[in-house]
Amino acid sequence: MSRRIREALEGLVGSGAFPSDGELKAGGWDFAGGLRSGPVVVAPSTPDQVALVMGKASEEGWSVLPAGFGRWLAGGGRPDVQIVVSTRGMRKVLEYEPADLTFTVGAGVSLASLREVTSLHRQWLPLDPPGGLEGSLGAATALGGAGALRHSFGGPRDHVLGLTMVSGDGRVLRWGGKVVKNVAGFDLTRLMVGSWGTLGIVTSVSGRLFPLPEADTTLVFGGRRAAALLPAARAMALSPLPLGAVELMEPLERAEGEGGLPNRESTPAGLVLRLLGSGAQVTEMEGRICSDLAGEYGDPDRFRGGDSLAFHDGLTSWEDGAELVMRLCLLPSELGSLLEEAEGIERLAKSSGSGRGAGEAGLDDRRLVRMSAHVGAGLLRVAVSGVTWDARNLASWVGELRSLRGRLEARGGTLTVSYGPPVLVGELGAWGRVGGEKRIVAGLEAQFDPMGVLARGGRTS
């Protein structure tokens, strides 16, 4: 079958659009993450080519998974894919006008390349989604993910001004624009951001930039456990000071390279505060924070300028290498409950651990589970490694997580699985409950992907 698909697509977009196995391997394509059979990987270089591919796929009923650089193919938990459409062929910066603080790039441009261009003009896109800076703008847009900077700058839904997409049935559609304010027509840009490729493939993105702050300082207060730092974290998240980021982590990332932290055996958890602004503002904020917190939590580690940036860049790959990544969300005032729930996950991990996590990573048992909270958003990320995913353990994880999801949903919260063993994601579902809006979601999927080639395994099926 895959040979037939390949031949059909070659006829449409030429043989140059198919990266070789060697190229994919060298690019770190993550097929091991759970795609069941080897899909055809095609990397068109224009939206029109994407449209040809999607038109054909729609006609034939071939299932398609949109991708950037293929580093997270199992995200969203959909193993049944015949074609992977990569945006890596669309990697041009199409427009950048520094005085407008806006840009338009092909979806395959990485966050790192964009930064390279904008930093020459002391501007930046304050977006630090999980997956690292080598991820593409198209993927960041499609996944809608935000990192620590969401505290002050929001996420892709707030940065993306417009986009071009190809719908499931091969229509090239442009939404929004490159101006900061635009209310012409319905806000399809926001609908596409975070739609996980269930409605179409994003082929270019326009976004808003900000002036690089003059000063960038990170303060890290250490603690024995995250829970012990929670009152300080909440106080900071509710402070009138315009903080850049408020993250609560356990454990903190270890010392590696420039900007890493000293190894801190006694205080493995940390409250990470990022201060951005003019030199005078950051100095003022630092002084006030330290006078509020240092008495109880000790003197913080400080990272300034490039070290602060490097520290936070490092946090974007926090999820890398984990076997299971989940997002638990309640109201920000209920973060304590989430930390308690995470302890349950920790116990489960210990009882089903292979010991590999401990041995190979040089971590103690507890580090089978790592936690990182966006404090202002009431969102706790939990990353699990070192579990033996045999049938018995899978069954108990599915059971436990299902009941945890039920508890959170009963309180208006959510549990989503960003990444995990395919069997677990398949059993549990990546997203959880879709409520009364299910009819609308299904309707929108049908509008943009009438043959269901993208939405298969998506939100409502």
Partner: protein, 484 residues
């Protein structure tokens, strides 16, 4: 079948049973109040107006209208400037005036839940004791409702730094056109599904009626610094804006009023002490932590002087700040002096294209022998070229219409949009083909149909008809290169 204003008796009795006799308005004189919104060029009295007081009542009203196949037009305070709340022929307006309760303000989660008819400023007032406020501040904020802001995705002067309505809406309780109630988003949570809140915000009442709105609140800034720079020409003021942004400064607001506007303001009861011989005035505001704000203000002053400002005033007190803002905030009210009617236009262009676009607008006005007064959110490239005219003069009105179309085309040509914050409503449907291809318009129709399969909810708004006079008026000119 017996009817009242063309509506079946059975519908009227269903509506009365939902909200009570007093809140189903159907006498023709009272209905006149609802014949237009603030875009008075379009007017049509509804057949009836219904005023529910809560979600349950609104749901019953929607259901009754749906069952009778009667169109529903949601309406907030009627301050909209695109005719979005204009009645539909044979339709009923559902007003939100009685849904004006603030249900919850929670400083611990920096959230509030309000009924849709709550006034924008009332929400900020309720949040103020907690050191918080609701950031989007449209000029009509003392009169407009949060529900209306949601429908229009409203902006405001301080959106340069804070962003527009959409950024602050985290949940919506929505009555779909068939009366079903759904929560979209909510509890500030990460949405595990499509961003339906983001889609609903700015949908101009075409998808349903949002009866309850959950918003994110932000801390009141600790300090502000406000400047007023006076320029000989509008172009100089535009250059100052570009220079401030290029210097890496991010003011909370950057607002320009031009010579015609200054004259109107100074001749009115709102006189703010702006010099009447000036070409333009630029209001600049910084806010945040007190430390360093003075330095930023000084840098901005310097940018203004280098761009040719003849004077830069600085507010030293809260009263002085209000005085500097007065000329900007009262601009629209003051324009009433210039002529009986005012067409408040709204468009955006990339900031760097402002000087060129302003010059082109000025040439268009001259050619059509019209007076244009510019007020705009310069930092966002959001223009309001306002045209004063007398509607009774049909020939002049036709020139206004023709000039407006050219202004829109100029803005789109410069890489901008036909509306930055006022919405499309009924007024700008005719320009939609300037920015969307037939296929994109069809996709927008498809999205509306998902929410409103029978096209009963604010029909005839936003989307141009597939056929009709608009098609003949404006042919799709091809995709402007500037769009992504």
């Amino acid at each position: 079948m017996r009817t009242v204003n063309g509506l079946p008796d059975s519908l009227i009795s269903d509506l009365i049973s939902a909200v009570g006799e007093d809140w189903v308005i159907r006498d023709p004189e009272s209905l006149l109040v609802y014949e237009s919104d603030a875009q008075t060029a379009h007017n049509l009295a509804p057949q009836a107006v219904v005023l529910p007081s809560n979600t349950d009542q609104a749901s019953r009203v929607a259901r009754a209208l749906y069952d009778h196949g009667v169109p529903m037009v949601p309406r907030g305070a009627g301050t909209g400037l695109s005719g979005g709340a204009l009645a539909t022929k044979g339709g009923v307006v559902v007003g939100t005036a009685r849904m004006n309760r603030i249900l919850e303000v929670d400083p611990q989660t920096r959230r509030a839940v309000v009924q849709c008819g709550v006034l924008n400023t009332d929400l900020s007032k309720a949040a103020a004791p907690f050191g918080l406020h609701y950031a989007p501040d449209p000029s009509s904020q003392t009169a407009c409702t949060i529900g209306g802001n949601v429908a229009e995705n409203s902006g405001g002067p301080h959106c340069l730094k804070y962003g527009v309505t959409s950024r602050y809406i985290t949940g919506l309780r929505v009555i779909l056109p068939d009366g079903e109630t759904v929560w979209l988003g909510g509890q500030g949570r990460e949405t595990p599904t499509l961003d339906l809140v983001g889609l609903f915000v700015g949908s101009e009442g075409c998808f349903g009626l949002a009866t309850e709105v959950e918003v994110a609140l932000v801390p009141l800034p600790e300090a502000t610094r406000t400047l007023l720079a006076i320029f000989e020409t509008l172009e100089d003021a535009g250059r100052a804006v570009t220079s401030i942004i290029s210097a890496g400064l991010l003011p909370a607001a950057l607002e320009i009023v031009d010579r015609n506007t200054i004259k109107a303001v100074e001749a009115s009861i709102f006189a703010a002490g702006y010099p009447t011989d000036a070409g333009a005035a630029l209001v600049i505001e910084f806010d945040g932590v007190d430390a360093g704000l003075g330095l930023e203000a000084e840098q901005a002053s310097q940018c203004c002087r280098e761009a040719g400002a003849r004077e830069v005033r600085r507010a030293e007190s809260a009263e002085e700040r209000l005085a500097l803002w007065k000329g900007r905030k009262k601009a629209f009210g003051a324009m009433g002096r210039l002529a009986p009617d005012l067409l408040v236009q709204d468009a955006t262009v990339p900031r760097t294209r402002l000087p060129e676009v302003l010059a082109r607008i000025s040439r268009i006005a001259k050619r059509y022998d019209l007076q244009v007064a510019n007020v705009f959110h310069a930092g966002d490239g959001n223009l309001h070229p306002n045209i004063v005219f007398d509607r009774r003069d049909r020939e002049e009105t036709a020139r206004v219409e023709a000039a407006s179309r050219e202004i829109m085309a100029v803005c789109v040509d410069a890489g901008g949009s036909i509306t930055g914050e006022h919405g499309v409503g009924v007024d700008k449907r005719k320009y939609m083909r300037l920015v969307f291809s037939p296929e994109e318009l069809e996709a927008l129709r498809g999205v509306k149909a998902v929410f409103d399969p029978k096209n009963l909810c604010n029909p005839d708004k936003v989307l141009p008809g597939r056929e009709g006079p608009e098609s003949a008026e404006t042919e799709w000119p091809g995709k402007p290169e500037a769009r992504p």
